[in-house]
Assembly symmetry: C2
Homo-oligomer: 571 residues x 2
């Protein structure tokens, strides 16, 4: 693979493009387009943006990802969680419905795109590793709840506001008396229909003799049917005049690519949210892409994925869109419908462009309640309490990071929630590795093995202390090591030798080196010799670059057994 085709995966797959592939990609693209139209409108509404912005975010970004992305089947576009984060981020600096709200949305996509491309070029994708699974999972669950709660107002047809659960609930309760009943009927009706489609339709279709894969795809078309029926109902019954909020006129035509207005204050205010959106979007997208690629034994290249998603967001930023990423449900449909190459994404983009040009007049009568119901059904499937239970059973530390993320997101806001979770998981990781497992070991009689004195019947002698450290030594745990050695030495007046058994030490950083020097020095002051045993090759290579081995009062032994034999022989 040349350097150029590594950064332009389209050169790779484009070269082998055949007509059978074209047919498969086209079929998948048609299905994804049908699914994406209502999704685009709905997620734009969730982000507080006019419906056409959702459509714009589903055209050029898909083409950009097809050129630069490494997943064959990932379907990029507006997604729920990123739309919520967009609403929060730009809601803080501009009023919804204002011109600057639109500018902020495109800027946010552009900044996020530039950040993603930069991370890809400088191979900084590892930054996404800060987001642990429990934090991501907790965040998605909490976001799902928050989004669902926020959409209830559209089911009721009332104005309402708020970025946290208490704000949303308070505002809803206040506005409850002004509920619009036709809206409520549509909203609840669509909700019930969509739940039927999701939970029952497949088995009904299968019972009717339709193939499971086709049935699967058909159930994904539920929202499209709901959209069509409620548009017809709204038009026939003139529901707009009954006070039912409708999508309204959508400008016909395609966005003309242009750089958004550069506002330095706005860029500064959006930088932190853009980073969070980039990271969350990347993590979600890569995980979908990995899962799908694995099914066909294909590979994705995470650093190039950053560039692909970055290009998609830059494309969104210059075509009046807003932040996008790879969507889970949509990508699965694309994959199941038989998409073979990213060309399917280009055909989908053409489909959405055609819809934007010719279908938008039909959408004016679409009730917002229909979109809200579609959003609620989609996001509630993201809420995963089972994961919370699993994490609780597996690890209390991980659970507390997850709980902090969920509670922080629901009660303090999405950005604070993620940051709290990330900080807490880092703290807990450092806490765990700062108190590594260490065992005083002794020789198992008749063998060359050494085991924990607390768990096994082993041979020890009062003048030799053998200590096994079960963790790499680095700044977070060196002081603990110093304390532990000091403690063990203080209890043993007859002690003459300390042997640190390093079989599980994968690395020793500069802090740990200084601590070892300090321990060596302190033991020497107390008339005790320090030895090491079973030091790994790479660790030893590094130690040779310091003065430690010259200053060490004792020796480095290849094995703990050698150490004991030699020290006993010296007596």
């Amino acid at each position: 693979m040349t350097r150029l085709s590594r950064h332009l995966p389209i050169l790779e797959w484009g070269r082998q493009y055949r007509s059978s592939t074209f047919t498969n990609d086209l079929v998948a693209a048609v299905i994804v387009t049908i699914m994406l139209i209502p999704q685009s409108l709905a997620y734009a509404m969730l982000a507080g943006l006019p419906p056409e912005v959702g459509l714009y975010a589903s055209i050029l970004p898909l083409v950009a990802y097809a050129i630069f992305g490494t997943s064959r089947t990932l379907a990029v576009g507006p997604v729920a969680v990123v739309s919520l984060m967009t609403a929060t981020a730009i809601g803080e600096i501009a009023a919804q419905g204002s011109e600057s709200y639109l500018v902020a949305a495109t800027l946010l996509a552009l900044i996020s795109g530039v950040m993603l491309v930069a991370m890809g070029l400088f191979r900084l994708g590892f930054v996404a590793n800060f987001l642990s699974h429990p934090v991501i999972s907790g965040f998605i669950t909490a976001s799902g709840l928050l989004i669902a709660a926020g959409q209830v107002r559209h089911l009721l047809g009332v104005p309402s506001s708020g970025h946290t659960l208490p704000e949303i609930v308070t505002s809803l309760v206040e506005n409850l008396p002004s509920t619009n009943f036709p809206t409520l009927v549509i909203g609840v009706g669509v909700l019930a229909f969509l739940y039927f489609v999701r939970l029952k339709l497949k088995s009904v279709l299968v019972a009717l003799g339709i193939k499971p894969r086709l049935s699967d795809i058909a159930t994904k078309a539920g929202p499209v049917l709901a959209v069509a029926v409620t548009i017809l109902a709204a038009a026939a019954l003139n529901l707009g005049e009954e006070g039912v909020p409708l999508v309204g006129a959508i400008p016909q035509g395609l966005p003309v690519p242009a750089l958004p207005i550069f506002d330095i204050d706005m860029i500064r205010a959006l930088a932190a949210p853009a980073l969070l959106i980039s990271l969350i979007g990347f993590v979600e997208s890569v995980s979908v892409a990995q899962t799908l690629a694995a099914k066909r034994r294909q590979r994705i290249i995470p650093d190039q994925e950053l560039i692909g998603l970055g290009a998609a967001n830059i494309a969104s930023g210059i075509s009046a869109g807003y932040p996008v990423t790879g969507g889970f449900a949509r990508s699965v449909v694309n994959f199941d419908a038989g998409a073979e190459t990213p060309a399917a994404g280009i055909y989908t983009a053409v489909g959405i462009a055609l819809a934007t040009l010719f279908l938008t007049p039909l959408l004016a009568n679409l009730p917002q309640a229909t979109l809200a119901a579609a959003i609620i059904v989609a996001v509630l499937s993201l809420v995963d309490f089972a994961a919370v239970r699993r994490v609780w059973a597996y690890s209390k530390a991980d659970f507390s990071a997850m709980a902090a993320t969920i509670l922080g997101t629901l009660f303090l806001g999405v950005e604070i929630g993620v940051v709290m979770g990330v900080l807490l998981s880092l703290l807990l990781h450092l806490y765990r590795t700062s108190r590594p497992h260490m065992a005083v070991v002794g020789q198992v009689p008749g063998t060359e093995h050494f085991r924990n004195v607390d768990r096994h019947q082993v041979i020890t002698s009062p003048d030799i202390l053998s200590l096994r450290v079960d963790e790499s030594l680095y700044f977070a745990n060196t002081r603990y090591l110093e304390d532990r050695v000091a403690e063990l030495v203080a209890d043993r007046p007859e002690l003459k030798h300390v042997v640190l058994m390093c079989s599980a030490v994968n690395a020793i950083d500069a802090s740990a080196l200084e601590s070892l020097e300090e321990i060596n020095h302190r033991l020497n002051d107390a008339g005790i010799t320090l030895h090491l045993s079973e030091v790994k090759g790479p660790v030893m290579d590094r130690l040779k670059r310091s003065h430690f081995l010259d200053d060490l009062t004792g020796s480095i032994f290849l094995s703990q057994y050698d150490a004991i034999v030699d020290l006993n022989a010296m007596r």
Copy 2:
């Protein structure tokens, strides 16, 4: 040891107090008092505070530490680095010389004390582990340079300001023309004298037949002699009228304990600097205490040290002082002079109290240049470029954290410098552990050992992939593991089994568990079975609390050898 005496170490050593101990402690206390008087004045000047504040910070805090601290010989009081951090922190919210500057100093001590006690009670001392050795060492070096640069103005007798090196240098250059020559003569003279004392006096005294230990202590009295001589010179030559800045009148009498004025905005502004001061002070102090305790095979208890230092700072906060911690040079003198118990600290406090009551009139004629010269000599001994070279040779990652700390501290300020260093060392640690060493292994012919295929002649088979992971699995490296497995699998069309060899995996967190489940699932989709081998006991116990073992497509083997034998037998 009862719970009470664990939190009140004085009950432990006080019970066994004898008259011989009393004599030894008293002698040490007299020597430390003589050393501490000029230090208190000098460090108060460095913190931008009136001289008496330095004396106050050397009375009650010493008594509090003697009651609560666990080190037998640590000498608490004002120290250079903490004084610099105090000047920076309170300089941002109050004008030097104003009443609120004094209030801020006491509040800072009080907040820092409360934080330290809280950390001690909740066993949060591990937070100090965030400060790696290279960061601390770089910070001390940079602070030393910054302090020395900041004191040059006192040698010249000019006004000057600034908290960063460029600010200090610019301000000095501007004020250079107004240099006061008598001040310069005193300053440079004292500087030369102190360097002579430090570098040559000991060998001169030893050559004269005085014992090395006594000579050592005598060299520490250099500043006292310089103080006495320059006071006499200033009084005799009436240097105050020549424009030589003098210490001036110091209020006679002791501070009356009182809570500082509570100003909520001020507390909020001081919280972050107080935390940094607490952590830096604690780390420095514990390291001194550990070193001294080790020499006599004594123990210190880090969590109780937090309480001891916290009590000292609270005492400082309620007696018109400012933040204190254990000082290196002073503690070594205390130790060398024969102090046996913390009672020496109490006697030192009495000594300083007497000095405050009766000696202060003598100090009015002390030139500030003398104190500045003493500070410069003291802090330049903290500057350790050799450590920078050592870290460079040992590890480029640690070096870059150190360089960031030094440059950040010098050019952006002490707080930013430390924070930059801490964040960078965390990032680099995560980066390192996020790409753990993994080796595809094969069987060494004729043995049960498995080694890296790239380094050894080993037996492998095309349908089995054995992968050894040399790091605990946690959120920062799980995605790398997923990527690596995906990559290895994509290259091997004949693959049927993947065996993860976990001999160096000390822990698997919830993120890693999910990644393993995902890997298992993805491999299954590709028709490949996943096995684990050599899983450690505690890791296995935890895995049993999840569904992973039920879902695992393959088996858990006790050893890699068992895995290969079994998988070959299945063929």
